[in-house]
């Protein structure tokens, strides 16, 4: 039984308590509202950049594209220009499809043994769908949140907001009342997608076997972020103008702590700060790493062009010709065959 998810869950629970008690109990608003977010951004930028530059320095001497199609060779053999690109354009298309539609994940398949001796391969589409829903919902949520950071609010943020809250949900009961001023579709999709990705790790025994605490931690953390965000936006409510005052204060380097924001807001902010600070040291760095996948971003022209390792060490060589020049006389004396007879011997033989 793999119980690693317990550690991750406890870690997120502790983070929640740290922020909640820190603000509600000890009144450390300035710590969780100013110091921690700034530190988190600094850690994210400095260590993220360092990690990318480190990857940039690593050696990629050979073309190592994974092939999913016929390489371009003879004109009468049909090649696949995107799956096995020989041109820069093909590489761009392949990278764009990879980054925007997670094509590698779409290829995920599951081998099944049916009743007979035959193996069959099934398209395993739900991880891909869940990942797409999760990433795009997160992107929309980030763009939506720019309304708190930019004054005046840019048009594209307003556009995304209005599209995102296109569907109206209004629930009116005495205990709960949800739906005004609008419900963002992305918040619900994000929560559902993260829940699905978490349940997939927990309930699928094979995935669970290979899952580590570092796999669960971001999921629980993002679940916490989505949960606290939804709680604030639709249930407990928060003074949005005050939130914006704090956010714009941070990005204009004139930090202020408006009153009456409450524990849930600071928990939300603390979770986001932790996610940012954790980012450079975690598997979340696939944000930058995807662009640097040598199996995806190189042209497959290994037959058309000779690729020489650019930093090959100039090796000192001693050819056979030079060797024979050095020892020709001795070789002839010993009766060994030589390729070029020495001049004297050649003359003797002529006579």
């Amino acid at each position: 039984m793999n119980l690693k998810y317990v550690y991750s869950f406890l870690a997120v629970l502790v983070l929640f308590l740290v922020a909640y008690v820190g603000v509600e109990g000890l009144g450390l608003d300035w710590l969780f509202g100013i110091i921690v977010p700034y530190l988190a951004v600094i850690v994210f930028v400095v260590f993220g950049t360092k990690r990318i530059l480190g990857w940039g320095r690593s050696a990629v001497p050979f073309r190592i594209p994974t092939t999913a199609g016929q390489q371009k060779s003879l004109p009468w053999i049909q090649s696949s220009p995107i799956d096995n690109p020989s041109s820069k354009l093909g590489v761009w298309v392949r990278m764009a499809l990879e980054v925007l539609t997670f094509r590698s994940l779409f290829r995920n398949s599951r081998i099944k043994l049916g009743s007979g001796p035959k193996i069959s391969y099934h398209l395993e589409i739900f991880l891909w769908l869940g990942a797409l829903a999760f990433h795009y919902a997160f992107l929309v949520a980030i763009i939506r949140h720019l309304r708190f950071f930019a004054e005046p609010v840019p048009f594209f943020v307003q556009l995304v907001q209005s599209v995102d809250s296109f569907f109206r949900f209004e629930i009116h009961y005495d205990p709960i009342q949800v739906g005004l001023p609008g419900v963002a579709l992305s918040s619900i999709v994000l929560l559902l997608a993260v829940t699905f990705l978490l349940l997939r790790r927990l309930l699928d025994t094979k995935v669970r076997y290979i899952s580590l605490a570092a796999d669960y931690f971001p999921l629980f953390l993002i679940l916490g972020i989505a949960f606290t965000g939804i709680l604030m936006a639709y249930f407990t409510k928060v003074n949005v103008a005050a939130v914006k005052e704090l956010a714009t204060g941070l990005v204009t380097f004139q930090p202020t702590i408006p009153e009456g924001l409450g524990g849930v807001f600071y928990v939300h902010l603390f979770f986001v700060s932790v996610l940012l600070a954790y980012f450079p040291f975690s598997k979340l760095m696939h944000l930058g790493g995807i662009f640097m996948s040598p199996t995806r971003n190189l042209t497959t022209n290994t037959r058309a062009a000779r690729h020489v390792n650019p930093w090959n060490y100039p090796v000192k060589i001693h050819t056979y010709e030079a060797y024979e020049d050095d020892f020709r006389e001795k070789m002839v004396e010993a009766g060994l065959p030589v390729e070029k007879m020495p001049a004297a011997t050649a003359a003797e033989e002529k006579e």
Binding site: L146, G179, G249
Partner: protein
Amino acid sequence: MNDKNKIIAGLIVFLALFTFPVWYNLGKAAPAPEVILTEKAKEAKVCVMPTEYMRANHMQLLDHWRHEVVRNAKRVFVNADGKEYTMSLSNTCLDCHSNKADFCDKCHDYASVSPYCYECHIDNPKGE
């Protein structure tokens, strides 16, 4: 491969996007707008509910009012202090806060919220 230049270019693009709010605001602080109260609102001193509650929850109160009036034909709201108000956006809220542009819109624009109240209700029912 030696793609250092491309990697650094990509990194710069990402950092430019990431710091968008910083260079978009250019150090210009944007404190929460001060709403302007009309004379009538100043005179009344208290809203139907405490100010802190109204700041975060006024939309829920209005939703509740609409529900009570439209579904339950109940038109009187009694607040915690036992004071009675008519449940009406046009006749109660906008009676004091008759300056929509300086009151409602200020925060709504600031927080990029577009409520649909005014798709039916008119700004200033009394034409003041």
